[in-house]
């Protein structure tokens, strides 16, 4: 068995090495913060085209006394004034330098069996306060596609657990305590050039250093989109991105 174990270990090491090597080019683009000369604002609006489907009513099968009896709707597609699409993550892809990161504090509340907010973005180093405002057991299970970030149980009403988020990536949040309808997203970035569109689809990225970039858009239902952006010193830009 010892030999087998050793072989398995070696095999895993080789796999890890191979994976590491293939990921190396992507990881090599590290972000360097510094002073920004001639920074400009990139702002715009993300729109949804076509008729807006009626929101899907969620089936609340458990803990109605706490979760509330008022109807709850699927929050994935929210279209506001002028077909503006809310909750789109907008970010500059593989930006290498610019203004310093501004990690702060963020909150994720379990309130009436919903995660509030449904989607948020912040930078690495932000302290996330996970809160339970309900009197039932919630657990906040935050995952990256292939691994857990953390999974906290919140048995007490008003309980708050604070944790600094140190990994970047798109995280999916769920509650395993029988509340299958509960879901949220957290986008964590290792640079400061990201935004989430407001209820009318508007976003703004300030102090973008002059240069040519790939502006990325991601929506949980509609997937991703991108636009080439050329930032001139001090010249604000207005963009429109349409999801069809």
């Amino acid at each position: 068995m010892g030999m087998q174990r050793k072989l398995a270990q070696i095999a895993r090491l080789i796999t890890a090495l191979a994976v590491g090597l293939t990921l190396l080019p992507a990881a090599a683009v590290a972000y360097t913060p510094g002073a920004v000369a001639g920074g400009a604002t990139v702002r715009g609006v993300v729109k949804f085209s076509g008729p807006v489907p009626a929101p899907v009513k969620l089936d609340i099968v458990k803990d109605n006394d706490v979760c509330g009896t008022e109807p709850k709707y699927d929050e994935s597609l929210q279209v506001g004034a002028g077909q503006g699409l809310a909750n789109v993550v907008v970010f500059i892809d593989k930006i290498e330098k610019g203004k310093p990161l501004a990690p702060g504090k963020a909150e994720l509340d379990n309130h009436k069996c919903r995660f509030i907010p449904h989607l948020q973005a912040f930078s690495v180093g932000t302290e996330l306060a996970v809160k339970n405002s309900d009197g039932v057991l919630h657990n906040t299970h935050i995952r990256l596609p292939n691994s857990d970030v953390f999974n906290y149980a919140l048995p007490e009403k008003g309980q708050v657990i604070k944790k600094k988020v140190s990994r970047a990536g798109l995280m999916k949040v769920g509650c395993d305590a029988g509340h299958v309808w509960m879901g949220a997203w957290i986008a964590v970035f290792d640079h400061p050039y990201f935004a989430v569109t407001d209820k009318d689809g508007k976003f703004s990225l300030a102090d973008v250093p002059p240069g040519q970039y790939n502006l990325m858009f991601w929506h949980e239902k509609l997937g991703k989109g991108s636009q080439k952006v050329i930032v001139q010193p001090g010249a604000a830009q207005d963009l429109t991105q349409v999801y069809k």
Partner: protein
Amino acid sequence: MGRFVADEHRNYKIIFMILSLGVAASVVWAFLDEGYTRRPWKRWQCEYAQLRPQRASGEAVAQLVVPDLQVVDRCPTCHAGIDDPSMVGDQIPKVLRVHPHRDTLLKSHPPLRFGCTPCHHGQGLALTAETAHGPGDPHWLEPLLPGPYVQASCLACHAGPEHLPGAEILAKGKQLFADLGCSGCHATGGETPARRGPSLRHVAQKLLPGYMVAWVANPARRRAHYQMPQFWPRAASDPAEAQRRDGEVRAIAAYLLEKSEPLAMPTAATLLVAERADAGKGVFDTVGCRGCHALGSGRDAVHIAEPKAAGSGDAWADFGGSDAPAEASPAALAAPATIDFGPPLGDVAQRLQPGFVPTWLLDPAAYWPQARMPTPRLTEDEALDVQSYLFAGSALPAPVTPAELAAPRDPKLVERGRQLIATYGCSGCHEIPGFADDARPGPDLTDYGAKDPRDLLFATPPPPKAQRTWERATEAKIAAPQALSAGTIQLVMPDYGLQPMQVQALAVYLRGLREQRPPANFQRDPQGGWAGLQAESIVRERGCAQCHRLVGQDAAILRYYDQAHLAPPSLDVAGARLQPQWLYGYLLEPGPVRPWLQARMPQFRLTPAHAELLAGWLAASAGKNPGLRPLPVRAVSPQRAALGAQLFERMKCVTCHRLVRGDGVETAQLAPDLGLARQRLDPAWVRIFLEDPGKVLPGTKMPQFFPDGQSPAQDVLGGSAALQMDLLVEYLMHLGLLPVGSDPATPGQEAP
């Protein structure tokens, strides 16, 4: 006269001088011969003395005498540097170099106790290379074992060489010998293992006759570990041989069908329902069939499992980027790429009688008591659904009617079939009506390793004398058994189509099969003991690793699940997590434990002895006592029990963990019934698990209640997370012992 005498004296003088010169020459010759021709070892000793003057012991025959093994070995006479670690490098003559495994093998086998020839063979007393090593000389019965064949010697004392460092080829050969079912025909001194091939007792109701004939004539490789060999390997290139084969196969099939015993089975016509195919796919994809069976039919590409898309098809993967691979590698990377533990099932419609499938699925043992296929614990409906799925879209073969089964066959053909089955030894691997269970059709190999090469068969024309070695004869026989047929000698051993490395490994193992063994005080138990080795063999035979992560290797079936916790649980933690006696009972009578799992632990129909071996092995692998003893019950005060109940309620454990067994609630959202904990779980493991569940079981849904050692209940036990976890574990381990009325967790949580 005087002159004559003087002359005469002169003649004598000349003769005397010639003779003297002759004597002097022969003295010189004898001296040289003694020093250089007959005692070549002196040359090596001189060289060694020059290399290591302080170590050399002067010119002498060095010998190792080991009375225990009846060995006198003079090998160190030439190999003077064999135990001298400085004798390394290309500049040192090969003869004088240190033993290549001095720090391992030589250390564990000190030459003073073991000598040389017990491992290397050869003539220990001889003092020239030719006579001592003796390769190629048929008069030396024990030549030096060449290359990897030296591993064969390990078997003399290490009857279980599976994990011996340095004996890898031997171990592989032993495994191959078992996998290929060699023991079905050849005795090797041990007990008779189960037959390798399926039972043919009711074969008429299992196989389509056309398929059976085609398969026997030309079997294909369909699974990882064992395969039906070719009995007519030369038929592919020789039309006359092909004709002979076809006639023989017909006779064999006639016998098998004639003697096939009836088995009660539902008839095919009433069973196949196209609408059930979808439900059947659902069952097939989830209960665990895919852990062992691919759906293709051919040999290679079809065995590749079709992996599920990562991220369950949502936009998650679209975002790009990746989480750190070192923490949890994606399942698809680590899981084996091929699934061929069981036969592929894509072509069952071409092979099987439709009615056989549900009969087999419901209870493989009803068809064949020694079947390796576990009972998948399907309902009758599910078995029929799977049958419909596997046959979906195929033109249905005509089922065998009872009239057809009873069709009169030519008794002469049937009798010829019986003779052929006896000749080819089919019953070595298959249960066949009319053939005794314990018959071993092939020769006994118990002492094959000691066989004189002169008794072995070589190809015609034979190779030169120097090449008629044991190794050559054996490798040729295994590689292409029937190629040695000539004239009246017709060999019937089938062709397994082995790779050269496999042939060599098998030959190494066979070289180690000898009746004469060193005395008992030299015999060694395998690492981990015989029980461990036997358990490993059961795990391998039963394919546990097809569904369960084992020894750090992800299971093949993991490819079919998005998340680790949806796959069957890892066996690497089972030993630490479970109480052996619970595992023992579970192995004998598996049932649902994890409500969210769609995969079902099948019933392996293990004997109690085997279940005990497995449970003990898993416990031992976690460093625990493998004994099947229930945990001692410690008394707990009513006050502490009440406090535990209070904390248990406060943590709301029963939101997911059902406390009472059999209350009818079973949904994918629930967690294991904690009412089982007292019998099932190891409290020490639960305590570690509670601290950080995701660290112990990556991917688990169980959340962390005490992150960073902080408890939300600051008013219990001074707010100490450690003391609260202790209390919870203690409470859990006493749950079943508390009066029902004191159970605080049941009200309000019960489903009707």
